[in-house]
């Protein structure tokens, strides 16, 4: 029974989000820190170094960590205010069980009661409906150790194939494309290569808002004279001073990339020696773009042909260049195609394995890189191994000390798990650090699915909107309450340090999983006394895989400010830049071109739904907002979703800035204020997705996925936009008041 026990408003009243305004004791408390803990930000994949100020068992502030080389003290607003997630009034402090009669909808229970119920439900559901009828959803806010443990826990303790992770909505198109073309799933370069590039081309990445620290690398490249090309449906902040802006229509990135390849070939701006020595299948890729002229691409993408030609000239004739891409080209039904088309451009011009050269994804989530390598992905085992490969299974079984047959096969990806819950094939769910109700496409479908669960167990530190549906809530640990490692978007393995202990009865996530495994009679596989022991096992499990951590020790990681994997043996220096000497990670050492034809997105505009919708993020919020919607200063910065639209579209629809508008797709409808700005394509509206319920952009998005990566198409939907009546002030007035003060 996984319906919310009481009215949602009452749940929010009890469990938040409430706003934490100030550090413990208030701004003027004058609490002196008794120690500084050098660790990393809990939010995005940049994993900036930060020092947490700690007094007793409370984080009371932060100091910049100037010595950490990636960010040298720099932080975005989320990083500055991340310390306010600690000592938060919404923090879950004891286990709870769903109880519609209890005030707040949940009653306090003991750990024994909670864990007994969880194990009883797992046994009941698996006994009645089969092992795979109980699923697990995980998240890459978790450290490498926890991600590894979740993978092992689902396979050996739950014995289910159906485990997947929230990177399914983030990194999987890039990962699949990189593996197909290059044989490995990692950023091609350390970020220190960006300032060495003559051309920096960003495709589908709003760097200023989603990876602010990367801005300084791009600006440093520009200081050295680099040209900047920005490809995006919106004139995002870092595009403002770009040398070239490519305002691509949502869902048409592969047409743009294809036309650039067409031009590179037509002008012979190719590195023939590199293509010959280090790649396969160039002819097939070339044939696929033979008719993709700039004039054709201009009609498809909306980007003027002259800008496509200029892009090809700059990319093709510069000695060095970096193409950085993110969810803007990846969250599509053609996400893998888009990534492969971008990689083709790097291979065609020999821009791999050299300083200032690369085509690379920018990993989104905090441990989006490390988390996807070590086995909580439905098709993977540790070391980025393939769960369907007999040799890979045998290696991992030998490390785990289990029979190979005990490791289940490939399970369902995240969205298909939601769909299997909806149609009754999956009856039970355990989730950790995943808020599918906000982050999955088609919110009302996801809500129906959660309602249908016979049992839903949630491990988290705050009660997310998905947690409202829980039967049992297990209070886990915040980032700063456990130690371990994470791996940044650069592929740099980092040390995460514990600053405080979990408060109240909350426990470290790994201890909770080990306890459940013991109750399920599988404790022999989970005999850990510390997080460090989990890491030592991870090193062995990853050894020989592409994501090889064998040579990484906690001591070295800390002393060297991180180590870039692969690091196959102790003493190995790590591998900051991949593909040096043109060596790729396929068995023959060669990269693969791919023939990419343009295909339209999963939904296209028509007379009933005549406007493109694209979704994304704002700088002050992180993902589903479970943490950042609880921090007052971040909420003040961008309190509610707004619908960005161009004045040309607004005028056509009779909408002025601040008007409430109704946005409707085939999945749902929502009302929100319009932000009329000339910084978005006139055929496209943008809505950020961080909010739940009637403010959720995912009410409008489409449950259609990339056939290879199973990534949903968050970046394209067809909608209708109408004036709803009423208006609000969207101008930011905080700084216009002479009174000033805290926002």
């Amino acid at each position: 029974m996984a319906r919310p026990p009481i009215d949602e408003a009452a749940l929010i009243g009890r469990y938040g989000p409430h706003l934490n305004e100030a550090p413990p004791g208030g701004w003027d408390a004058g609490i002196d820190a008794d120690r500084m803990v050098a660790t990393h930000c809990c939010f995005c994949g940049q994993q900036c170094g930060i020092k947490l100020k700690v007094a007793g068992n409370q984080v009371v502030g932060f100091e910049p960590w100037f010595d950490f080389p990636f960010n040298e003290g720099k932080l975005c607003p989320k990083g500055v205010k991340r310390y306010l997630q600690g000592s938060h009034p919404d923090r879950l402090l004891h286990p709870m069980e769903r109880d519609p009669e209890a005030p707040g909808g949940f009653r306090r229970v003991t750990w024994d009661q909670a864990l007994d119920r969880v194990t009883a439900e797992i046994r009941r559901i698996q006994g009645a409906f089969g092992q795979d009828a109980f699923a697990m959803l995980s998240g890459v806010s978790l450290t490498n150790e926890k991600s590894y443990l979740v993978g092992k826990f689902a396979r050996l303790a739950l014995g289910t194939a159906n485990l997947d992770y929230n990177g399914r909505y983030c990194m999987v198109s890039a990962g699949a494309g990189n593996k197909k073309a290059l044989g490995i799933d990692r950023a091609s370069n350390p970020w220190s290569d960006i300032p060495l590039a003559d051309v920096v081309w960003t495709a589908g990445t709003n760097i200023a808002e989603t990876f602010p620290i990367t801005t300084s690398y791009i600006w440093r490249a520009r200081d050295h004279g680099a040209r900047l090309i920005v490809q995006d449906p919106r004139l995002v902040p870092h595009a403002r001073t770009a040398d070239l802006f490519l305002p691509v229509r949502p869902g048409t990135d592969s047409a743009l990339f294809g036309a650039v390849l067409h031009e590179l070939i037509r002008h012979n701006w190719l590195d023939h020696a590199f293509i010959e020595a280090h790649t396969n299948d160039f002819e097939a890729a070339a044939a696929a773009v033979a008719d993709m002229t700039p004039a054709w691409a201009a009609r498809v993408t909306g980007v003027p042909a002259v800008r496509i030609e200029q892009t090809a000239e700059w990319w093709g004739t510069s000695a060095t260049g970096m193409l950085l891409h993110a969810r803007g080209i990846e969250q599509h039904t053609k996400g893998v195609d888009n990534v492969l088309a971008a990689i083709n451009l790097g291979l065609a011009t020999g821009k791999y394995g050299k300083p200032g050269c690369g085509v690379t994804t920018i990993t989104g989530q905090g441990n989006g890189q490390g988390g996807r390598e070590h086995g909580h992905k439905c098709d993977q085992l540790p070391g980025n191994r393939d769960i369907s490969n007999a040799d890979h299974r045998a290696h991992v079984a030998s490390v785990w000390g289990c029979d190979v047959a005990e490791i289940p096969g490939k399970g369902l990806p995240a969205l298909e798990i939601i769909e299997a819950i909806h149609d009754g094939r999956i009856k039970g769910l355990l989730s950790i650090c995943f808020n599918p109700l906000v982050s999955s496409p088609d919110t009302s479908f996801t809500r129906e699915a959660l309602d249908r669960l016979e049992f839903y167990g949630v491990i988290d530190f705050f009660l997310s909107e998905s947690g409202h549906h829980a039967d049992i809530v297990l209070p886990g640990s915040l980032h700063e309450e456990d130690e371990g490692t994470a791996t940044s978007g650069e592929g740099r393995i980092l040390r995460i340090k514990a600053a405080v202990d979990p408060p109240g009865e909350a426990r470290r996530d790994w201890e909770i999983l080990v306890d459940i495994a013991q109750r399920l009679g599988r404790g022999q596989y989970f005999d850990y006394a510390s997080t460090h022991e989990i890491f030592e096992e991870l090193r062995l499990a990853s050894a020989g895989g592409t994501a090889d951590y064998r040579g990484a020790t906690w001591e070295r990681i800390e002393a060297e400010h991180g180590i870039f994997w692969p690091v196959p043996e102790e003493g190995h220096p790590g591998t900051p830049r991949l593909y040096e000497g043109g060596r790729f990670y396929h068995p023959d050492g060669r990269a693969r071109f791919h023939a990419v034809r343009y295909e339209p997105p999963g939904e296209v505009i028509d007379a009933d739904y005549p406007v493109w919708l694209t979704t994304g993020r704002v700088v002050s919020q992180y993902l589903s907002g479970t943490q950042t919607r609880r921090i007052a200063a971040l909420v003040a910065q961008y309190p509610e979703p707004l619908c960005e639209m161009h004045p040309v579209l607004a005028e056509r629809l009779g909408i002025t800035d601040g008007d409430w508008v109704t946005v409707t797709s085939r999945r749902g409808t929502m009302q929100l204020p319009a932000l009329v700005v000339a910084t978005i394509r006139p055929d496209t509206v943008f809505i950020p997705y961080h909010w739940p319920g009637d403010r959720a952009a995912n009410q409008l998005t489409h449950r259609v996925v990339d056939p290879i990566s199973k990534m949903p198409e968050f970046k394209v939907a067809a909608v209708r936009v109408e004036r709803a009546g009423g208006a609000v002030e969207t101008t930011d007035v905080r700084d216009l008041s002479l009174h000033g003060g805290a926002p």
């Binding site: 760097i207 902040p237 770009a242 009174h739």
Partner: protein, 210 residues
């Protein structure tokens, strides 16, 4: 620069502001609130220039004028400079809350705080800079639009020239804080930076839409 981002006494680091690098993320606004001399109050300004037309934003710290207008117009003599040239917030016992300084500052920096009936302003994190540390905003700024370091460091890694003279009508203002311009001989400081792109007049190729 030593271990903890601390400058030595002889290094003479300077504050540099380059509006053209700003991405509007508000890390500075959030970090200013964490400064020890005014915790909980953000004194930096971050203005959206014209959001309807552009994502351009502009941060504004106190420029710490050599001969500060705010202090000149203060009827209560409440605004003092340190020996190092830092123009401080008003002295609480003297400030009469008249907002003369708020209105007179050519850069729009001082803030009148009604709840404490006092003017407060950016003091370049005097608690930090007096110990050789970077100010909060320039420590965290992800785009280095706000930057703190030595002039030699600036010249070794950044392009553009540093200027600190402004002309407001007939008033010449020399500031402690430097501003970055492409060409110091080109005339007045242009906070929009130099527009050298062909696409900027029609970023979305509107002729194709209309």
């Amino acid at each position: 620069m030593s271990d903890a981002g601390r400058f030595g006494i002889d290094e003479q680091p300077v504050f540099v502001i380059d509006q053209s690098r700003c991405i509007g993320c508000e890390a500075c606004v959030q970090a200013c609130m964490e400064c020890g001399t005014h915790r909980g109050r953000s004194l930096i300004h971050l203005d959206r220039i014209d959001r309807a037309a552009s994502p351009q934003t502009a941060p504004m710290v106190c420029m710490h004028c050599e001969n500060p207008t705010c202090a000149q117009v203060c009827p209560a003599d409440a605004i003092k400079q340190t020996e190092g040239g830092i123009v401080q917030s008003s002295l609480k016992p003297r400030c009469i809350g008249c907002s003369n300084c708020v209105l007179a500052c050519p850069f729009g920096v001082p803030k009148y705080m009604a709840e404490i009936d006092q003017m407060m302003k950016c003091d370049m994190c005097v608690d930090r800079t007096s110990e050789g540390l970077k100010p909060m905003c320039a420590s965290v700024c992800p785009s280095e639009a706000l930057w703190f370091g030595t002039i030699e460091q600036f010249r070794s890694r950044r392009r553009g020239a540093l200027v600190r003279d402004f002309l407001f009508g007939r008033q010449v203002v020399r500031t402690k804080v430097y501003t970055v311009v492409d060409d110091p001989t080109a005339g007045p400081v242009d906070v929009l930076g130099v527009v050298n792109t062909s696409w900027i007049d029609d970023p979305f190729a509107l002729e194709g839409f209309l």
